[in-house]
Subunit: 269 residues, 2 copies
């Protein structure tokens, strides 16, 4: 039997105050770290990935880094976004170390090269070895080399995709996404009281769900739910199942790791 | 003609206060960054590497990380040393960004895998692309995966060696080592007033120099001069010349980059 590997995401909106640049929500990070600790104590391999939230946001938007190299300042922008994203990563890793866990930061920009956003090359060695050592690789949304656009903001979901497609042979992989909502809804639940919760996304309703997430009245509050669902559904085709849960609710992550039933949107094929 | 590439080292003893844990010498870092800026403005490609000084020292010594995995706490030690080394790297990169330079941190642990300290695998892509972009990769002494010992503390010199042997085909490489002494002496210059300065190390005197650096009355104050000389002489065989200069002296680095004559120990074949 293959070993179980969890890829756990701490959403950027969850672990930072999106209204204030460079402001981590330490209490939440600390609680999530404690919940991860349960999974580790159960012998699971875990890779943690986190979004950047309000850390790289200012510089990424100033230098329009999501567009790649657009003008003479783009390279400086790439450098600044990389630095800002790493800064939050340092805070997250520090909390893991405080909790006595062997967390080891890995820069996605050092191990991925992409072309127009799609992975062209990957150096998976360090990740494989850290998992063998029963350590916790901690990755994050980062700006990576793009052979077409110059650079590319690689989301945590894209990093998870790149890693898991290379680890699939050796591990039984599950993804847990901790966000600031319970999962996917038919409309933006923060704006529409008639938004309906979607407990499962699979072949039966994926097109319908994509429709909900495409409509312009903005379900995008949590940083690109359409982007997340597209990637997670693609991974589901490879047998990698995901659940999106509300990381604001204490014990949600811990309970999923323990195999308990938690409110969330499950994505499978 | 091949492009010129400088590998510039900021010694750990130079950029931190070795007597106080986690204490950077910001004024010196800032000045060295300004001096690097001159080289950049002349169109040179530059990779910066720095030692860890008093940052990873406490944890590396506590967990005996230089020995590899020795007990049940070694993995935690590896994680802690990695974090502490990255912390100083963040400070250095921050000063480059403040000076308007496109500095981009790369974790050696993400791109190198070694066996008993010797490079077994390297992912050079990110470094090559950053140089093509005329950006400044910033590397540092880090703890890397060792297939034999578990982990290995890879010095900045070892990182430089690993990188330069892979970049040799495309670049004309020179190494500039900024330390806290003028270069190599026959004895520890801090302890012996009759220590004689050695301006050049080459085939003619390398064995003699190794003899000086091996004697037990401790020339090792600046963090392993023997280790440095061994690696730099090996690189000299590949046509990569080095100079060790005193980074405490203002303008020394800038003047070397401008091609001026500076007091220092030159290492060639």
């Amino acid at each position: 039997m293959r070993n179980r590997l969890y890829l756990v995401k701490f959403g950027g909106s969850l672990i930072t105050d999106k209204t204030k640049p460079y402001t981590p929500r330490i209490d939440i990070i600390r609680r999530l770290v404690d919940e991860v600790k349960e999974g580790i104590s159960m012998g699971f391999r875990i890779i943690v990935g986190h979004g950047g939230g309000s850390f790289p946001h200012v510089s990424a938007s100033k230098y329009r880094t999501h567009l790649g190299f657009v003008d003479k300042d783009s390279r400086y922008g790439m450098a600044k976004v990389h630095y800002d994203a790493a800064k939050l990563n340092g805070i997250v890793v520090s909390e893991f170390l405080e909790a006595g866990l062997n967390a080891f930061s890995i820069q996605p920009s050092a191990i991925f090269i992409v072309r127009d956003g799609e992975v062209e090359d990957i150096f998976i060695g360090i990740i494989e070895h850290l998992l063998d050592y029963r350590m916790i690789p901690v990755v994050y949304g980062d700006v990576v080399i793009d052979l077409e656009k110059g650079c590319h903001i690689m989301s945590t979901e894209e990093v998870f995709k790149g890693l898991s497609l290379h680890l699939l042979e050796d591990y039984d992989i599950n993804i847990i996404m901790c966000e600031i909502v319970d999962g996917i809804y038919t409309k933006d639940p923060f704006k529409f009281s008639d938004a309906e919760f979607i407990p499962i996304i699979d072949q039966g309703n994926i097109d319908e769900v994509r429709g909900y997430l495409s409509v312009s009245h903005g379900i995008d509050v949590t940083g690109g739910m359409r982007h997340k669902v597209d990637i997670l559904f693609e991974l589901a085709k490879h047998g990698i199942n995901s659940i999106i849960i509300n990381g604001l609710i204490e014990d949600n992550l811990r309970r999923v790791l323990l195999g308990e039933d938690v409110r969330g949107t499950r994505i499978k094929y």
